[in-house]
């Protein structure tokens, strides 16, 4: 009996040792000490350089007074990001926040937080799909804290990132390093269980993949599932990974048809057959009844959690090409997209804005703007999970394409 010792002692470069000794100030020493503590507990042997960091906790709803205090301290100490550092959505559209009906106190706190971030060299990209905005290369080591994006980067792009917290990603952005453990090591990037879907259950919509992800995340937790016998599209994979990263800690998955850039795809580990999880229709139905058993006539539909990609916008636009008159008794629609799409796909955004309000820089989960509505419909497990306890009114889930079809095509 007694306490368990920490895993080991990490090798540090002479510069890192000097930083720990205070050569670059007390705050830098404190930040490095946090990475060192994390690395030693996780069995890291050294720090490794990263290509980029991506931060969470950007909205004042999520970062709050705690983030404001720390960013003030970093700014006062004159620290700057050492590598490209992007951020998640904040609490409002940076150009149209006055249209969102927010409390002035919230707006002031959010603006100060963003100013402090800009002051240390953070790029205020304000999107949760950095993998679509500035995709990392296969083999890049990253420190990303958006759980859905980091899982996509590991799974689809073959990059290397642990599931960072918003705070360790910030520290890594400032110092340019991360502890070498977990998903940074090839030997840990092996599947821990195999997932098959019974022929009775064939998911089609992004919502079905999202809810399946929520269901599996609880069971797989921090494992690496290997999906066998299904070939989801990229939007479906995005939805599935986001769901698993919300209910569990899944940071990577394997899909037979993806052909990962880095080809570590063992179905067996140490000659042991992987645990098999089979999901059938009845089990799935029982799970989703938690989210869909309330008959709600929503007055607002919010789509884009995670932010809509160009492929997802294309799906919506294709569906509404032959659009009939809008059904007047249906909810108004908000779409959430990355700001960079204004330059990349302006024509598509113009068409999307004919269907509903397009917001940038923010999302339904981290903006208080949705609170002025009585009932909401969301398009993902992730937005449902986080909004349900935070939203004062009633909330349900619908596949966005189904709802758009109903609103604009009357079916």
């Amino acid at each position: 009996m007694g306490s368990i010792p920490i895993a080991g002692v990490m090798y540090l470069t002479s510069r890192q040792e000097a930083i720990l000794g205070g050569s670059e100030g007390t705050i830098s020493a404190q930040l490095l000490r946090i990475l060192l503590e994390l690395g030693e507990r996780q069995g890291a042997d050294q720090m490794i350089p990263i290509v980029s960091a991506h931060l969470s906790g950007i909205s004042y709803l999520t970062g709050g007074a705690g983030a404001l205090r720390l960013y003030r301290e970093l700014g006062a100490a004159g620290l700057r990001c050492a590598v490209r550092t992007s951020i998640n959505p904040c609490g409002f559209d940076l150009r149209r926040f006055k249209e969102m009906g927010l409390e002035p106190e919230f707006v002031r706190a959010q603006q100060e937080l963003l100013d402090l971030m800009r002051g240390i060299g953070v790029q205020t990209s304000c999107s949760c799909i950095p993998q679509m905005i500035d995709p990392p290369q296969a083999g890049d080591h990253l420190a990303w804290a958006e759980s859905s994006a980091l899982s996509y980067a590991n799974t689809v792009l073959g990059a290397y990132t642990n599931r960072e917290s918003g705070l360790t990603a910030l520290i890594s952005g400032v110092l340019g390093i991360t502890p070498n453990y977990g998903m940074h090591l090839d030997r840990n990037r092996v599947s821990t269980c195999e997932i098959r879907l019974d022929p009775s259950f064939v998911p089609h919509t992004s919502l079905e993949f999202s809810l399946l992800g929520g269901m599996l995340g609880e069971r797989v937790n921090d494992g690496i599932p290997f999906f066998r016998g299904i070939q989801p599209t990229i939007p479906q994979i995005k939805a599935l990974l986001a769901g698993m990263a919300t209910s569990g800690q899944v940071a990577m998955a394997y899909f037979e048809h993806l052909g990962l850039p880095l080809t570590i795809l063992p179905r067996e580990r140490n000659d042991r057959v992987l645990p098999l999880i089979v999901i059938d229709r009845s089990e799935y139905q029982a799970y989703v009844e938690r989210f869909t058993n309330e008959a709600i006539e929503p007055d607002l539909a919010v789509f884009g959690c995670p932010h809509l990609t160009e492929a997802e916008i294309d799906q919506i636009l294709r569906l509404t090409e032959q659009c009939q008159d809008r059904q007047s008794n249906k909810p108004i629609i908000w779409f959430f997209c990355p700001r960079v799409f204004e330059q990349r796909i302006p024509d598509k955004l113009a068409r999307l804005s004919e269907l509903g309000t397009v917001w940038f820089d923010t999302c339904m989960v981290v903006s208080p703007a949705v609170q002025s509505y009585r009932s909401l419909v969301v398009d993902s497990y992730k937005s449902y999970r986080y909004l349900r306890p935070l939203f004062a009114g009633r909330i349900t889930v619908r596949d966005r394409l189904d709802l758009i079809n109903e609103v604009f095509n009357g079916r």
Binding site: S3, G66, S165, L167, E218, P389, L390
Partner: protein, 137 residues
């Protein structure tokens, strides 16, 4: 069981006694904790306040903003007094370091089954002792 020492990996070892708040098996701070009031807004402890309590959960899950939630709890003077996690504390770790929050993790499944049903614990430099147990089943 009461006298037995439960083994754990310890960050910021302490000597204290307190009441337990069980947060659930997969715990996401965002969507579970109101950082301004310390109220629990979802999960098995919904409606209770975490201020001054010993928090227990099975493992971390979901949102990666958890450290910011805990740093905000410091600003609103609503911090818990300790954290116990059955598996590994990773996402919350930087906040635990900065806040000097006593943090105990890597608990055996058998010991965790007792802990999650306990109502009062004593934390020591060596591990955890159950003062009052079996308040819920």
């Amino acid at each position: 069981m009461d006298a037995e020492l439960i083994k754990a990996r310890i960050l910021n070892p302490t000597e204290l006694e307190g009441s337990v708040l069980f947060l659930g098996e997969n715990f996401s701070a965002y969507g579970t904790i109101d950082p301004v009031t310390g109220q629990i807004i979802d999960g098995p402890a919904m409606g209770q306040n975490l201020r001054g309590r010993i928090l227990i959960c099975g493992s971390e899950a979901g949102s990666t903003v958890a450290p910011w939630i805990f740093l905000s709890l410091r600003e609103s003077a609503n911090l818990p007094i300790a954290l116990i996690v059955r598996t590994n504390v990773v996402v919350l770790l930087p906040a635990c370091v900065l806040l000097h929050l006593p943090t105990y993790d890597q608990i055996s499944e058998k010991d965790y089954a007792f802990l999650r049903n306990a109502s009062r614990l004593r934390l020591t430099h060596e591990g955890i002792r159950i003062i009052d147990g079996f308040t819920q089943n």
